[in-house]
């Protein structure tokens, strides 16, 4: 059984990470459940753990000078959902996580570091080309979240690193779409989630992107599929639709998705594209009635 430390500053935490290899425990909503032993028994881990909840340097959401938004690793889904500077897709995903108590406890750093394919936040963050900031005693490095998450429960986190924050570059989408499908309205693990966005100007689709969650070991983004739509005119959507949907279907992990998930994804993307083609008012494209 490992030791447990409670660092109060980031530099203490980075030293513990480097010297002991202690793994960070933030909200605990994944780790405490995974290592649960029962009533009146403390969870046990086969490695050293550091409870990082108190580290102020990892808290807070701020707007950066270039229009990006930086979210500290310890920021909770409740704080993200209530923010007026975090992009809409990410706020939607945060608002749909678990139920209130979980949203008050879980953290964005944990949701990313745990790298569950069903995690709710990586999917919209990858849509937005978010980067993760990794800190160690040697300094900091930044990488695309899409490159950081290598597979189910696998990340590129170094043995001496911790996730410090997430940086989301600015976007100005004409149309946005987000949907999470779970078994219940609250406290549901994603069966499927989808984000999509488009920039349209004078009838031309300047940007088009989509990301699928819970659809394979990693979040699905496909630049190849996106390029079928991107750069074309809105009036061309009907003739591009089939080849786009086919390319998206091929991008999805072959074994990960039963047919109903593929059909549902195809239907949602088709709905989003049709709405743009039919001249929907700019803003959120919503399926909810």
């Amino acid at each position: 059984m490992g030791m447990t430390y409670i660092p109060s500053t980031l530099s203490e935490a980075l030293r513990l990470r480097a010297e002991k290899g202690a793994k960070p425990l933030a909200g605990g909503t994944d780790l405490m459940v995974q290592s649960k032993r029962g009533i009146a028994l403390a969870p046990q881990f086969p490695f050293d753990v550091m409870i990082i909840t108190a580290i102020d340097e990892l808290k807070g959401i701020r707007a950066l000078d270039d229009g990006s938004v930086e979210i500290g690793a310890l920021v909770t889904p409740s704080e993200i959902a209530a923010s007026d500077i975090v992009p809409w897709h990410v706020r939607q995903a945060a608002a749909g996580m678990g139920a209130i108590a979980l949203r008050n406890t879980a953290t964005i750093g944990g949701n990313i570091g745990n790298a569950s394919p069903k995690g709710d936040l990586p999917q919209p963050l990858i849509l937005l080309d978010a980067e993760v900031v990794l800190a160690s005693v040697k300094g900091e490095r930044r990488m695309l979240l899409d490159d950081f998450i290598l597979g189910s429960k696998k990340t590129a986190l170094g043995d001496d690193e911790i996730i410090r924050s997430v940086i989301i570059p600015p976007h100005d989408f004409t149309y946005s779409f987000y949907r999470k499908i779970g078994m219940r309205r609250a406290n549901a693990i994603s069966k499927l989630s989808l984000s999509a966005a488009a920039v349209v100007k004078d009838g031309e689709i300047l940007d088009f992107r989509a990301s699928s969650g819970a659809s394979g070991p990693r979040v699905i983004r496909s630049k190849d599929a996106e390029s079928i739509i991107k750069g074309h005119m809105v009036e061309e959507i009907p003739e591009l639709m089939d080849s786009f949907l086919e390319a998206w279907n091929n991008a999805i992990s072959p074994h990960a998705m039963p047919e109903y998930r593929r059909n549902t994804t195809r239907r949602m993307l088709g709905y989003f594209l049709s709405s743009i083609h039919e001249g929907a008012s700019p803003g959120i494209i919503s399926e909810e009635v």
């Binding site: 447990t4 405490m32 459940v33 649960k36 678990g98 139920a99 209130i100 979980l102 008050n104 406290n187």
Partner: protein
């Protein structure tokens, strides 16, 4: 680096020196005797162990005590004699919200957190407010009605 954890439970200072991974619910129930905090699933899914930490609803079964240094925790025992607590408890009695009762301390804490931030909730707000609390008797309608009653009867105490 912390070696002891100091926090406040129902306004009483508590000092903890044991394993920091000890679950908050076990400190509350076993060390402090606050057995109004119930353990249902032990995985943060059912809400029976809900307490208020620094003004926010949390499930005490998945929070390690090492994460609450400096925090103020309120359990059902800490709010039941307050004006707001009494208002909810009386409304639950009047509205017939309680069947077996196991989920009720958690439901009251969720209602307390909801009404403290939203004094005039709609029915949907109430249903969302207790969406992390499971009642195996499935008596949700009467619980929702009772929370509505607490909002109406409490009036200005929630403002």
């Amino acid at each position: 680096m912390l070696s002891e954890i100091v926090f406040y439970v129902n306004d009483k200072k508590t000092v903890f020196n044991g394993n920091p991974l000890t679950r908050l619910i076990d400190v509350l129930r076993e060390d402090l005797g606050l057995t109004g905090v119930k353990e249902g699933c032990g995985e943060g899914e059912c809400g029976a162990c809900s307490v208020i930490k620094d003004g926010k609803l949390v499930t005490s079964c998945i929070i390690p005590v090492g994460a609450v240094n400096g925090s103020h925790i309120y359990t059902i025992e800490g709010i039941r004699d307050t004006e707001k607590g009494k208002c909810i408890i009386d409304a639950f009695a009047e509205g017939g919200a309680v069947q077996c009762g196991f989920c009720i301390p958690g439901m009251v804490m969720a209602a307390y957190a909801l009404l403290s931030s939203n004094p005039h909730p709609t029915e949907m707000d109430i249903r969302k407010g207790i969406s992390g609390n499971i009642c195996r008797c499935t008596g949700y309608d009467l619980i929702v009605e009772s929370i509505k009653l607490a909002a109406e009867k409490g009036g200005s105490i929630w403002a």
